[in-house]
């Protein structure tokens, strides 16, 4: 057993551990005896509600969204051939924010209910626009990155402009949604997210060889028989669907897509056969942990998970880069 195996085993064991902790901890602590009572059917109505209707779907939602973001991040980094890439580069975040701003301003209070739909639509439309505009007899990774950044800032300016005209209460609702949180999770939203994710996640697992090859650049990939433009379009579509569904379910949760693949790379190496499940695992863990910290650290107030991921994620990424400062030229 190498240290890598130990870390991997610890990560795998952390999933049930974190899940249990998420069920037990919170405004009202649920004791071990209470948790056990759930299994033999003797639990009180109150315990059942807190654990089964509130905390369990919420923890599973964090797990699912984290898994999705981790996978989307790994795909984005391979397709963009850039270690700093994340789904947001495809304009997903900016598009979701702009669409959110539009419904909030356009429909006033009624718009809040439409935020998830608007978020998904904005994210996918924006990614489609980035892809279409970067097409010149085919696409290139660099062109997608540059156009993604340009369109992203344009949409950002657009949503700031809109927000300036919106009602303060609506803006606050928008901002909370944008900062990314799983607090509104229910079995219903969890089911919807899972349904959206199943197909793209399975396809991503099947595309591991394409992902491996994509990182070598267009010439090498094409010379080995990959249809690079088709492959890139397909993978971007996967990445967009996965992150768009996550945005719809819990708003914009940053940093997971960026750091989960990096952490996973340290654990399982570069090959996507292991990197995709690895990123999924790390992403799920990070978001579960972030949500747990977010709702217990300054209880009874709650920090949106998206803010916690940024608070933990940014220094952690810095640490990773610092540790690897001697690698490469």
């Amino acid at each position: 057993m190498t240290s890598r195996h130990v870390v991997l085993a610890a990560a795998l064991l952390s999933v049930p551990a974190l899940l249990l902790a998420s069920l037990a901890l919170g405004d009202q602590t649920v004791s071990r005896a209470d948790l056990r009572s759930l299994f033999n059917g003797s639990a009180t109505e109150q315990i059942r509600m807190i654990v089964l209707d509130l905390r369990l779907p919420r923890a599973l939602m964090a797990l699912a969204a984290g898994v999705a973001l981790g996978i989307a991040g790994a795909i984005a980094q391979a397709v963009m051939r850039n270690p700093l890439a994340e789904p947001g580069i495809l304009g997903i975040n900016a598009g979701a924010a702009l669409a959110g701003g539009l419904v909030i301003v356009g429909l006033k209070g009624a718009g809040a209910a439409l935020l998830p739909v608007a978020g998904f639509a904005g994210a996918t439309l924006m990614a489609a626009a980035v892809f279409a505009l970067s097409w010149r007899n085919g696409t290139s990774s660099l062109r997608i990155v540059l156009i993604g950044i340009a369109l992203g800032s344009l949409a950002g300016a657009g949503s700031s402009f809109l927000i300036a005209f919106a009602d303060v209460a609506d803006v606050q609702r928008l901002m909370i949604w944008l900062s990314g949180s799983v607090y509104a999770a229910s079995w219903e939203t969890l089911r919807r997210l899972a349904a959206w994710l199943v197909l793209p996640v399975v396809l991503a697992c099947l595309a591991v060889r394409q992902l491996d090859l994509m990182r070598f650049g267009d010439d090498i990939a094409a010379s080995l028989g990959q249809r690079v433009n088709l492959g890139r379009a397909f993978l971007i579509l996967l990445c967009t669907t996965i992150s768009g569904a996550t945005v719809a379910a819990c708003g914009l949760i940053g940093f997971i897509g960026l750091i989960a693949p990096h952490v996973a790379r340290n654990m399982v190496g570069e090959g996507h056969v292991r990197l995709i499940p690895g990123s999924a695992l790390v992403g799920g863990l990070l978001l579960m942990a972030a949500d747990l910290v977010g709702r217990t650290a300054i209880a009874p107030a709650q920090l949106p998970a998206g803010i916690v991921t940024a608070l933990i994620g940014a220094p952690f990424l810095g640490y990773l880069l610092w540790r690897r400062r001697h690698v490469g030229q």
Partner: protein, 265 residues
């Protein structure tokens, strides 16, 4: 090692009134060329003469603006991408690998066109990788990260990847540039082995005229997108041709020992 047993005429690569360009700029127009099978062909010419462009088109990396590249009599565009990659391998100039790969990670990529979506890593894949590593002398370094290798070793690792593709035709774009003399000689020796004992067709773009004169079976000289001259080195390596193609006025020295010609500029 499966050497393709089709007839000489059928398996070869032929350029038929091929026109190539980028955007509106034409680089090569109406080029006709037959590449001899199971021989080492070198494309020579000054920078920008179109030789690398022709090489890329031969691998299907660049779509023709007119005419066609014919493989076994059929236009390359009619082959599927994978099928094409099982028959022609190309190593572009100065290839870059993602960080953190080992030699064996790289060489295994060469098996991509041979594997279908659900097929597992097979015995044939393992054999092909092993053979490629041995041919290039990289077997001992297989677990090394690419970043730890010298320039010559890295180049050999890339050639090993192309060999793992097990194609009849191998295209190399300046495989010896940036290598020191010993490593250059090593790469040229490897090419000779591939052609002589493996029956491969190798086409390379080289900058070193003497390397070409000494090792090639067939030389094709380009100038400004036009074919100037082609043939075996002993016949076409004349003062006049070299002067025309490279705009230098050379001395040609004949070495009786190796029966090769050397160009002194």
């Amino acid at each position: 090692m499966s050497v393709n047993e089709t007839t000489e005429a059928g398996s070869g690569l032929r350029l038929d009134t091929l026109s190539l360009g980028y955007g509106n700029r034409m680089v090569v127009e109406g080029l006709d060329l037959k590449i001899p099978s199971r021989a080492f062909t070198v494309l020579l010419g000054r920078n920008g003469s179109g030789k690398s462009t022709v090489l890329r088109a031969c691998a299907g990396l660049l779509k023709p603006k007119g005419g066609a590249v014919l493989l076994a009599g059929k236009p390359l565009s009619r082959f599927g991408a994978r099928e094409c990659a099982r028959r022609i391998a190309i190593l572009p100039q100065g290839p870059a690998a993602p960080e953190g790969l080992t030699v064996s990670d790289l060489v295994r990529q060469g098996r991509y066109p041979h594997r279908s979506l659900f097929s597992r890593w097979s015995r044939a894949d393992e054999e092909a990788v092993k053979e490629a590593l041995e041919l290039t002398g990289m077997a001992d370094l297989r677990e090394q990260p690419l970043e730890n290798l010298s320039g010559g070793q890295r180049q050999r690792a890339w050639i090993a990847m192309s060999l793992a593709q097990q194609t009849e035709i191998l295209l190399l774009d300046e495989p010896t540039t940036f290598l020191d003399l010993a490593h250059q000689a090593e790469v040229m020796r490897l090419i000779t082995t591939l052609v002589k004992s493996r029956g491969k067709t190798v086409i390379a773009v080289l900058h070193d005229v003497n390397q070409a004169a000494r090792h090639a079976d067939h030389i094709v000289m380009f100038k400004a997108g036009k074919l100037v001259q082609q043939g075996p080195p002993n016949i076409i390596m004349t003062r006049e041709h070299v002067r025309c193609v490279f705009d230098i006025d050379p001395e040609i020295v004949h070495d009786a020992k190796t029966n090769a010609k050397f160009i002194l500029s």
